[in-house]
Structures are given as C-alpha cells and as structure tokens.
C-alpha cells in the first residue's frame, strides 16, 4: 500500500514516499519516483491512482512553470497549494482525481512550509503529514518524536524510524523509499532506503 509522509525542520522540509508501483498482486517496479520536483524550490509527493497521479502532478507542474514565464516570478508554496486544491475541487463533482499530495516548499520570505492536500480537496498547512496505511504508523511516530526546528540529521533519523515502523508492522509493506529535501538551496533528492534492488 502506498505511503507518503513529510515534515518541516529548521530551514528545510522533507518528503518521503515509497517507490512501489503495484497492480493488484503484481509489483510492476520498486523504483517509481512519486515525489515530483515542481520547480526549483518545491516538492510534491503524490500517492493514489497511478494514472491520475501522473496526469495531475504533470498538469500542475506545467501550470506552475507557465505562471513563472508569464509573471517573471515563481509561485509561492502557498499559492501553488491553493492552485492544486482549486483544481481538485473543480474536478471533484465531475471527474475526481484520486490523488493525495504532500507539498513541501521553501520561500525566501517565509521559509519552509508543508501542505496536506487530499483527494477531496482538503487543504491544511501543517508541520507533519502522512497518507496511506503507513500514515497510522508514521503519524504516531512523528507525534511522539517530532519537535520544532529539527536539524536535517534529526529529521532523517525520525524518517528512518517511521520507515522502520512501516516496514515491520504493515502486512504488505513497500520495499523501497525515496527521501527528498527542499531548503534555501533548492529541491533535490536526498537518499533512498532500499530492501530490494530496483
């Protein structure tokens, strides 16, 4: 079962996602990158219906890029989150996107931020967020160990503890995870946590 979670630290935000692409009982691949780099300083971890996930995230990414060319200035994380929520809300009563998103961004003026956006267009600005069956374990772990202004090392350690919980307690736990980080230097891949090759 898919799992995406994230947290805010001191001057950065972290997003972790599993990398399994599953269809019923078959694992298509275990190195699927579900955390899209939206622009230089935004990360979007998405889980849900595979087709919707790709369609919606790519659509958002291209619209964020278009905004930047039109206005010569990038969207703030808050603006991007609200744009996404608006698109999900508009489609909801016609042809809903079954995608859950954790949006992490870094803005020069406001620092790091994290947004929880679920498939029925709920939008919350949060310090920690999680989706999927893994969220039961990840949120509990984060509730216990998270504190404001964590360093990167502390946050990675907490992410690892969450991954460990998910791996050991979930009956169909995902094999591999990818961790991406965004801070003032931009959004980038941080590391992988693998139990299987590819």
């Amino acid at each position: 079962m898919e799992c995406v979670f994230g947290m805010v630290g001191k001057g950065f935000a972290l997003v972790v996602a599993d990398s399994s692409a599953v269809n019923s009982i078959l694992v298509h691949k275990s190195n699927e990158d579900k955390i899209m780099v939206l622009d230089s300083h935004k990360l979007m971890g998405a889980s849900g219906e595979a087709g919707d996930r790709a369609q919606f995230t790519e659509y958002v990414q291209k619209n964020v890029a278009l905004y930047q060319y039109r206005n010569n200035i990038p969207l703030t994380t808050k603006a991007a989150a609200n744009f996404m929520r608006g698109e999900l809300a508009t489609a909801l009563r016609k042809n809903p996107y079954m995608v859950n998103i954790v949006l992490a961004g870094y803005d020069k003026e406001t620092g790091p931020s994290l947004y929880f956006i679920d498939y029925i267009a709920t939008l919350h600005k949060v310090d920690k967020a999680a989706f999927g069956y893994g969220s039961y374990f990840a949120l509990s772990m984060m509730d216990r160990h998270y504190h404001a202004d964590m360093t990167v090392d502390e946050a990675i350690k907490l992410a690892d503890q969450c991954i460990e919980e998910i791996r050991s307690r979930l009956v169909v736990a995902p094999q591999n995870f990818v961790i991406k980080i965004v801070d003032q230097d931009g959004a980038r891949e941080h590391s992988w946590r693998r139990t299987t090759k590819d």
Binding site: E58, Y59, K62, N63, A65, L66, Y69, R70, N72
Partner: protein, 249 residues
C-alpha cells in the same frame, strides 16, 4: 486600390492583401531588433527608446522567454505581441505536457506563424502588427537556431536578420560583415549591427544572449563595456586606414 484594403479577406486584382501589407508598415515603424546566430550562441538585440523619464524601465521587457531554451524579440505593435507571446508560452508548456519533450525552435516558430496566418484569413479581425525574431537551442541536438516570422504568417530560418526601423541598413551591414562566430564575438556582431541605426550606449540597447545553459539578459554596464570595445576597434581600424596615407604627407 482603396476598395480592396478595408477587409482582410479581400484580395486586390493584382494579388495583394493590403491589410497584411499595412501590417508590415506597422512593423517598419516599430523599434529596431536584430538577431545573430553563432556556433554556440544566439544573440538578440533590441533598440530601447530612452526618452521617457518617469517610466519604470524594468516593466518594459522587450526580449522575453517563451521557455527555458527559447526567447523572442519583436518589432511592431507591442500589445499584439503580448497576446502572441502568451499563446506561445501556453503552447510550450502544453507540448511538454503531451509529449514530455520541450519544443524545438522550429515547432514554436511554426505555431506562432500559424497563428499570425490565421488572422489573415478570418472575418472581422485584423492581422497581428508585428514581426518576431525567435532564438533558441533545440532540446536534444543542441543546435542553435534563429527564425523570423512576419504578419503574413511566413517564417524562415536565418543566420542573422533584423526587423523594425532601419532593418534594411542593419541587414546590409550583416550581409557585409557576417561570419561564423562564437561566444562574445557573436554578441559583438549583434551590437555592431544595432549600433548602425541606434544611438550608442547601454541605455539605448537591450541585449540577451542564449546559450545551451539558458537566456542571459546583459545589464547596462556590460553593454557599455562591449560598446566601448567596439568603438575602440572602430577607431583603431580608422587609424590604420589613415596611417599609411599620413606617412605619405
């Protein structure tokens, strides 16, 4: 000929579309713009009318990005340009979304030219009053390209071209002086062409350089420096010409 120039959809007996030709007139009155293609660089230069004191010059960008690897400069009606540029930017992103590839320079030029042509064959509309110079690097081949479109909707690729005011003088200069250049030499060639028709100085010229890495707008100080270099070279060439003659007296 007055009867055949009211509507765009009417040919004149000798095969002219007068509205399109009048649109070309509008282009000829627009600011001078030049584009030069080098082996690893493409340069765009545009004349800046510096008379308005109270205007915030940062809000008047004459060379715009359509995508990371494509830039556009134009001569003619700037309001028409805004509409075309907006549509082109949407098309760049739409292309990326549907085929997961950035546009080639030729593709987006063909798209813009197609739009301009559509408005020469519809009822109740007038043509776009601008010619564009489009530069960029093709995404995988990395080949630099320079294209020009005009109000009739024709387009073609160029090694160097000019449009707008005094474009004939600039084109003549380029035809005489064009050679394959790269890097800073391409920038100098473009500025030299522009200086043929524009008052010299960084205040009056806007220059942007497109390389594989992306678009870079040159700031006033940089342009002034290059202009100074060009003037020094010109003076040296003059002196060399006069030199042997002076020895004879």
């Amino acid at each position: 000929m007055a009867r055949y120039d009211r509507a765009i959809t009417v040919f004149s007996p000798d095969g002219h579309l007068f509205q399109v030709e009048y649109a070309l007139e509008a282009v000829r009155k627009g600011n001078a713009a030049v584009g030069v293609r080098g082996t690893d660089t493409v340069v765009l230069g545009v004349e800046k009318k510096s008379t308005v004191k109270l205007q915030d010059s940062r809000s008047v960008r004459k060379i715009v990005s359509l995508d990371d690897h494509i830039a556009l400069a134009c001569a003619g009606l700037k309001a028409d340009a805004r509409v075309l540029i907006n549509k082109a930017r949407i098309e760049c992103q739409s292309h990326r979304l549907t085929v997961e590839d950035p546009v080639t320079v030729e593709y987006i030029t063909r798209y813009i030219a197609g739009l301009q042509q559509k408005y020469t064959q519809s009822g109740g509309v007038r043509p776009f009053g601008l010619s564009t110079l489009i530069v960029g690097f093709d995404p995988y081949s990395g080949v630099p390209a320079l294209y020009q479109t005009d109000p009739s909707g024709t387009f073609s690729a160029w090694k160097a071209n000019a449009t707008g005011r005094n474009s004939n003088s600039m084109r003549e200069f380029l035809e005489k002086n064009y050679k394959e250049t790269s890097g800073q030499e391409t920038v100098k060639l473009a500025i030299r062409a522009l200086l043929e028709v524009v008052e010299s100085g960084g205040k009056n010229i806007e220059v942007a350089v497109m390389t594989k890495e992306g678009l870079r707008q040159l700031d006033e100080a940089e342009i002034d420096a290059i202009v100074a270099e060009i003037e020094a070279e010109k003076a040296a060439a003059e002196a060399a010409k006069k030199g042997p003659a002076a020895k004879e007296t």
